[in-house]
Structure formats: C-alpha cells, structure tokens
C-alpha cells in the first residue's frame, strides 16, 4: 500500500544518508582515532606566531603529525608545544603491541636521533605566514639539552628546540640596532659642533686677514728675488768659470803627462834639471788653480750675501730690481 511505499522510500533514504554520514565521519575525523600516536613536547623561547593547534609536524620534510596544544610555561617563560606524532611513518619503530611498548620504542629511536642532533625548529609554510614544527638535525651531535622543569614534572617526552633561522636573523639585527642606539650621538654631535665653532671664530679673527695679506706679499717678493738670483748666476759667467776650470784641468793633465815622460826618460844625473822644470810647471798650475778657486769662492760669497739680503728684507729684491732697471734705462 501507500504506507508501505512511504516506509520503503524513507528507509532507502535514511540508509543511504546514514552510510554517507558514517563514511564522512570516518574520513573526516574518526579514522584519526585508529592511528597510533606518540606524544612529544617541545619548548620554544621565541614567538610561535603562525603556529596553531593542528599545524603540521614534519620529520625531515615528511609530515608525521600535528600540534595538539600550545601553552605558555609561566615559570620559564617558554612556549610549550604539544605534538602528536603518528607512528606509522616510522617504519623501524615497533607499531604493534600496547601503548607503552610503542611509546618506549619510539622514545628509544628519538633519543638516539637526538644525540645525533635532532631538534625542533619553527619553519615558515609557504607565503601565508603559517608555520610548522620541523624535526631535523639542526644541531651538532652531542648532549641533549635538559627539559624545562615543568615539562619534566609532567613526564612528557621532550624534544629540544633550536631557534629558527628567522629568529637568528632577528637577533643579529636586533643586536646591531641595539649597538647603534647605544652610541652617544648627542655628545658626538656636540664635539663636532664646538670644533666648527672654533674654526669659525678663528676665521673671523682680523689678525688672520692681515697675516694672510703679509703672506701674499711675502710670496710675491720671494718670486722677484728668485728672478734676481737667476740673473746673478747668468749663463755667461758660469760658462766662463767652467771654461777656466776646464783649462786648468787640461793644463794639469799635460803636466802630469810631462812628469811621467820625464820620469821614464830620466837618467839620474841629467834628470835634476828636468825635475826642476817640472816642479816649476806644477807650481804654476797650482797658482792658477788657487786663483780659480778664489774666484769661485768670491762668487759663492756674493750668492750668500744675496740670500742674506733676501732673508732680511724681501722687499730688497723689488727695490734692487727697480734700481737696476732704472740704471739700465
């Protein structure tokens, strides 16, 4: 009848929906209940911004579990992150048996790995700002850091954490900025300012103006005296001097050659007159040389006097020059 048809249809509908419901419940959550998990705890000393309950836990990039709770340890000022790690991802770990055996097996494995440097670290997940807990060999092998007191009291399995790369960069940056901020910019600027002020006042001093004028006059005078000096050491005189000197040297040379010849041809009795001649010639040369040297000395003396004169009064150069110009005219 109609009623039976109603019931049949309703029955079909309810069965279908319930099957679907059970399937969805299973896939969307209840299947989680049959997954064997181990609990682990880690503590971060940094902000866990971006990490939330349900965030992933990855072991060397393999998703092995999720964050189940995040709390603050008020005594140590640490962020405690509870994780549930699915044991099926660790093939070597004993998955069968009861919870205690599984836990122990997992702990043994993890402790071994932790000695080799296994640590927790916060990592960014994509560009969204979300984070996940990464388990990897971030540290050098060695001793395992001790768990915070509160975690130890709880008896939870502790995996130590290292600060994230981001955190390291942040620390370095913070330090640099800190140091910068610690520099006493005010006193530094004060000093610079006072130096500038001093300089300014010196420049404004009138004495500086006059001495500058003196300097410029001095410079001009010096230039003129240099001109005079060059005239005194005129080319002709110098050439004459040098030619006299040369001549003397040639004479001396000739004398030396004569002397040699004499000594070679010498017969002791007849050589006495030759020796006398030679000596007379040498005396002559020596006199000439002395005259030359005297003249050179006179020249040097006159230069010295000139320099002295310039030193005493630079204006003399101008005056002398003008006088000499006038006399030339």
């Amino acid at each position: 009848m109609d009623e039976r048809k109603n019931q049949l249809r309703t029955g079909i509908f309810v069965t279908l929906s319930l099957v679907l419901l059970v399937l969805m419940l299973f896939y969307f959550g209840l299947s989680e209940m049959f997954v064997r998990r181990a609990k682990a705890v880690t503590c971060f000393a940094e902000s866990v911004q971006g990490l939330s309950v349900g965030s992933e836990v990855k072991f060397c990039g393999v998703r092995v579990g999720e964050v189940t709770d995040i709390s603050i340890l008020s005594r140590e000022k640490l962020i405690k992150v509870d994780m549930a790690i699915e044991l099926k991802h660790f093939k070597g770990v004993d998955e069968s048996g009861d919870a205690d055996v599984r836990d122990m097996s997992f702990r043994d494995f993890m402790e071994k790995e932790m000695k080799e440097g296994l640590r927790c670290r916060l990592e960014f997940q994509g560009i969204t700002g979300m984070k996940y807990v990464s388990l990897d060999y971030f540290s050098k092998s060695g001793d395992i850091p001790v768990a915070p007191v509160e975690v130890r009291e709880e008896g939870a399995f502790y995996i130590p954490a290292v600060s994230s790369t981001f955190k390291d960069i942040l620390v370095a940056l913070t330090n640099a900025v800190d140091r910068l901020s610690k520099m006493k910019f005010e006193t530094l600027f004060g000093e610079v300012e006072s130096v500038l002020k001093e300089l300014n006042s010196r420049l404004a001093d009138p004495a500086l103006g006059s001495s500058l004028k003196n300097i410029s006059r001095l410079t001009a005078t010096l230039e003129k005296s240099a001109g005079n000096v060059s005239r005194v050491f005129s080319e002709e005189r110098m050439e004459k001097l040098v030619s006299v000197f040369e001549q003397n040297l040639v004479n001396y040379n000739r004398l030396a050659k004569q002397l040699e010849k004499i000594s070679q041809d010498m017969k002791l009795p007849e050589s006495a007159s030759g020796f006398r001649d030679m000596t007379a010639a040498a005396i002559e040369i020596r006199q000439e040389l002395t005259v030359t040297l005297q003249k050179l000395g006179e020249t040097l003396e006159s230069i010295r006097r000139l320099a002295e004169q310039i030193n005493r009064d630079p204006g003399f150069i101008f005056g002398g020059a003008r006088k000499s110009q006038r006399t030339e005219e």
Binding site: N6, F13, V14, L25, G29
Partner: protein
C-alpha cells in the same frame, strides 16, 4: 509595532502549545509513525534528487569562482579547503533548508490552513486532541531527522562538484584532491553543519505550521499562509545561521 508584539505573543503561545505536547512523543499511543513516515518521505526522499543536484552545482560554481581567484596567487590546492568548509558548514545545510522551505514549509502551512478551512482543526479539538501536538510533532520529528540526513547527501554532492572542477579545470589530481579533503575537513565542521541543519528543520517546521494555524479560514488565506511561511522560514533560517555561526566561532567549531 503593536502588531509585531501581538504576533510575537501568538508565536509564543503556539510554541508553548507545541512544547507542551512534546511529552506525548513518549506515550506509545500518541506516537504517529504513519504521519512521521509520510513527512519523512515528503521532505526526505522526495527532496533527495533536487538537493543532490543543487548542492553539486553549488560545489561546481564555488569551485570555478574559487579557482579564478586562487589561480592568481598560485594557491589552487586551497580551493579544496574553500569548497570543503563552505559546503560542510554553510552551503549544504542552507541549500537543504531552502529546498525544505519550498517543499515542506509551504506544504505544512497550506495543509494546516486547509484543515482550518475544513474545520478539521475544530474537529480535532472537539475530539479532545491537541492540534499542536497532533499536527506539528510528527512533522517536526520527520524534519529534524531528514534534514540533517539530506545535508549529509548535499555535503557529499557539493564536495563531488568541487572535485569535478578541481580535477578538470585546475588539473589537481583526484588523489591529491581527495587526500587534501580528508586532511583538512574535520568532524567539527560536519557536525556543526548538521546541528545547523537540525535547527533549520525546527524553524522551518514551526514557521510553516504557525502560518498554517494563523491563516484566515478561507481559500485565499491558505495561499497567503503558504507564502508567509516561506518568507518567514527563510528569514528565520538566515538569522539563525548568523547567530549560530557566531556562537560556533566562540567554541571554535
């Protein structure tokens, strides 16, 4: 203003009558399996094809719209989250509620209005029955059971629709889509949607029956009552959706 108050008062009286009749559910004699099956079939099985179709299309539409936006930032895989959560939490229950409003809510109003015209309500009362309990409770039970179940079917259809778009348009592998779906969706989203669905069922039934009871006793009044039932149901559904979403967000659903 006075009218609104008096209407609220009327509704409260009606609500009281229905609530007062609830204990009848626990008396063997007054369990009305027949009516229950009739309405369960009406708003359950008969609505199933349209619910599945609409929810599937909703998933497809949402998938395409999501894909266009997600592709811009290269986060196509998050489309799975978008479709999964919006279908489970909002669209599934809402689509089912709207279909139920059109099918069941207006039907309830028309049925009770007609009974009023035919003096069947008076007859019921003179036979010592409580019309509120007699007429409302079987509908209420049928709706409260069949709407969440319909929502489950709608959810599945919606996710399937999204999957079709994801696989065909965005070329996400079926396995990847499925794994992501299973991974991100949780029981809280599903049950949250089902709870909403049950609340919608209650509201639609109450609005439909109330409009039937208060319709004026003529043929025109029946039509007006049915229209009013639809408007009132959708209004109540949307308001309650907002309130529930807010409340669920407090407890983290």
């Amino acid at each position: 203003m006075k009218k609104i108050f008096s209407q609220c008062g009327e509704f409260m009286i009606f609500l009281g009558a229905v609530a007062g009749a609830v204990p009848e559910l626990f008396r063997r004699r007054t369990r009305r399996w027949r009516e229950f099956f009739y309405y369960a079939e009406l708003c359950g099985f008969q609505s199933l094809p349209i619910v599945i179709m609409l929810c599937f299309l909703m998933g497809v539409v949402l998938g395409i719209q999501g894909a266009i936006q997600m592709r811009k930032v290269g986060t196509e895989i998050f489309m799975v989250d978008l479709i999964g959560f919006s279908v489970l939490k909002e669209l599934g229950p809402l689509m089912v509620a709207i279909i139920a409003t059109g099918r069941a809510g207006s039907a309830f109003a028309a049925e009770i209005g007609t009974m009023k015209v035919n003096e069947e309500l008076s007859a019921l009362r003179t036979m010592g029955s409580d019309p509120a309990g007699f007429l409302v409770l079987p509908k209420l039970c049928a709706m409260v059971i069949s709407l969440p179940l319909l929502s489950v079917c709608g959810d599945a259809a919606g996710i399937l629709g999204g999957m079709c778009v994801g696989v065909s348009v965005l070329e996400i592998p079926v396995a990847a889509y499925w794994l992501r779906t299973v991974d991100v969706l949780n029981i809280a989203a599903l049950t949250g949607g089902l709870v909403k669905s049950a609340v919608y069922a209650i509201l639609i039934t109450l609005a439909g029956c109330y409009c039937g009871f208060t319709s004026s006793g003529d043929a025109q009044g029946v039509g007006r009552g049915a229209t009013r039932a639809v408007v009132m149901s959708i209004f109540l559904v949307v308001i309650s959706d907002a309130v529930m979403t807010l409340l669920f967000s407090f407890i983290g659903w």
